[in-house]
Amino acid sequence: MASVPAVLTSEWTKIRTVSSTVWTLISAFVVTVAMGAALCALMNSQFDDLPPAQRATFDPTFISFSGMVLGQLAMVVFGVLVVGTEYSSGMIRTSLAAVPQRGSFLFSKVAVAGVLALVVGIVTSFVAFFLGQALLGDHRTDIGAEHVLRAVVGGGIYMGLIGIFSMGAATMLRSSMLSLGILMPFFFLVSQILSAVPGAKKVARYFPDQAGSKIMQVVPDAMNSGTAPYGPWGGLGILLAWVAAALLGGYLVLKKRDA
């Protein structure tokens, strides 16, 4: 059996020695923080123009995370590339010849990349929160307020989990291009559009991003985001189930199919 610490070290070397790691994670951070800050500043200046319904459910925590709509896409790219470049470069054959135990290989890779994604996610989340609150002026909330800390930590976990979900999906699809071609439109368009279509709404709220992002809300159903039959933790549970399913699927594909 290959020694797990050795495989973890190897996967860490793999991740830190390619430049795509750095630029995808930096974009995730910059995009999330910058877009969140911009929206917070905008909200602060135009708060009085909002319709009353939105003003009633205004969620200063959630609004500072609005950058995640785009920022999560960089996280998706990170997750996809971590696995996908093994296939596109042909490295997968070399890697599996070195570590023939498919489970050790995949889960070491996901562990290393996942921890990194979670760390970056949490840092991003905290920075986005504090910067956003600073720009919200009178409408800000405080980290000590009820449910706020849960939402901020949850935002980081959400980003990390989206990255890990992408790793699982890429392992199933065995290709960077294919994975990005499916995941990017899904998170950016399909999920958003379906959640606005009355009929499809009921299904769309069980999608990983729709369910997972509930953890970031302090005010239930904030900003007309729609009601859901589950709470913030339930939503995170649904996202976790998606992640687990993607990883299991990836593992089975890796185990069964020829490399």
Binding site: M1, A2, S3, A6, V7, T9, S10, E11, T13, K14, T17, V18, S19, S20, T85, E86, S89, G90, M91, R93, T94, S95, L96, A97, A98, V99, P100, Q101, K256, D258, A259
Partner: protein, 333 residues
């Protein structure tokens, strides 16, 4: 030692490898030959546990690949020049492989030096030429100092100096008692490198024998004689019941006799010989002969990889010319 036991691989209803059983022994270079689509790559991939056999098994030094403790220390492989991450430096590509099998980092610099890539170790492998990629792949194979080495088309992209080097490297590794298994399409190169051959066609074992036996069994060999006393020599040969073919230029070709016997015969009759040499066909001739004989293979050969059926006239006359084993290519046993 690599042992294949009834190794079979089906893709849908196409049989790529069909009940292949053989052993690749240590201490020599074993060549692995077969036409395109014969199942060579699939076999090599199954040896490395990259493809799952439909049935049968492969053992490396008695163990299944997945049961090897740190496999790179047992078996190293060069499958494809394109098997590294292009965005990573040569050094880092090898480093992550070394770490996964607990090979000391110092070994990375060593193998880079061995393959002559020290100067470009820190460069991204994306910019490497085919030959440099090949050298990097060879470095990866040598990383764990393994007893078993697999090379698929190792000379691809190398220049003459590199080809010469890899050939000698493989021979030296075999001489140290390692198991060296090389697949190649270059018969002329293989003839210089391999001691033993495993030939497959349509996924089945066609031959598993020494190079000399393979050539002997699959091609015509004869002895060439030249003598200033040609008339007498011919008479003596006729008397001895040998069939003599005159090919002009004072050359006699004799089938079915050894140089030793002919030398003795000439000595007995006091005939001076100016040439007494055994002529053998090339490995390529022997290989073509064998794969042409294999009816199954032929029936199957009329798709892409086959020589152009539309233009037999392009090849036929030259086949005849090369078939005779021209001077210089023949070698004696």
């Amino acid at each position: 030692m690599i042992e294949l036991d009834g190794l079979t691989k089906r893709f849908g209803n196409k049989v790529a490898v069909d009940r292949l059983s053989c052993r690749v022994r240590p201490g020599m270079v074993t060549g692995f030959l077969g036409p395109n689509g014969a199942g060579k790559s699939t076999t090599m991939r199954m040896m490395l546990d990259l493809d799952n056999p439909t049935s049968g098994s492969v053992r490396i030094d008695g163990k299944h690949y997945r049961d090897l403790d740190e496999p790179l220390k047992h078996i190293g492989a060069l499958l494809d020049a394109k098997s590294m991450h292009g965005g990573r430096s040569a050094y880092n590509n090898l480093l992550c492989l070394a770490q996964s099998n607990r090979i000391p980092e110092s070994r990375v610099a060593e193998v880079l030096d061995t393959v002559g890539l020290t100067a470009v170790a820190k460069k991204k492998s994306k910019g490497f030429s085919l030959g440099m990629g090949q050298r990097l792949g060879i470095a990866a194979a040598l990383l764990g100092d393994p007893q078993v080495l697999l090379f698929d088309e190792p000379v691809n992209g190398l220049d003459p100096e590199g080809i010469h080097w890899i050939r000698n490297l493989m021979k030296a590794l075999a001489a140290e008692g390692r198991t060296i298994f090389v697949s190649s399409h270059l018969m002329s190169e293989m003839a210089l490198t391999a001691d033993h051959l495993i030939v497959i066609g349509q996924g089945r074992l066609l031959a598993d024998m020494s190079m000399a036996d393979f050539i002997h069994q699959n091609s015509r060999s004869y002895v060439r004689l030249r003598s200033p006393q040609q008339e007498r020599l011919r008479d003596v040969l006729h008397e001895a019941g040998l069939i003599v073919v005159e090919t002009g230029g004072g050359i006699l070709e004799i089938d079915g006799a050894t140089t030793e016997a002919l030398g003795e015969l000439a000595a007995q009759h006091q005939i001076v010989l100016h040439e007494l040499s055994a002529q053998r066909a090339s490995l390529e001739d022997a290989f073509m002969q064998m794969t042409a004989d294999s009816v199954e293979y032929h029936a199957h050969s009329d798709h892409v990889a086959a020589p152009p059926p539309a233009g037999p006239q392009w090849g036929d006359q030259w086949n005849e010319r090369t078939g005779g084993g021209p001077a210089g290519t023949g070698r004696e046993v």
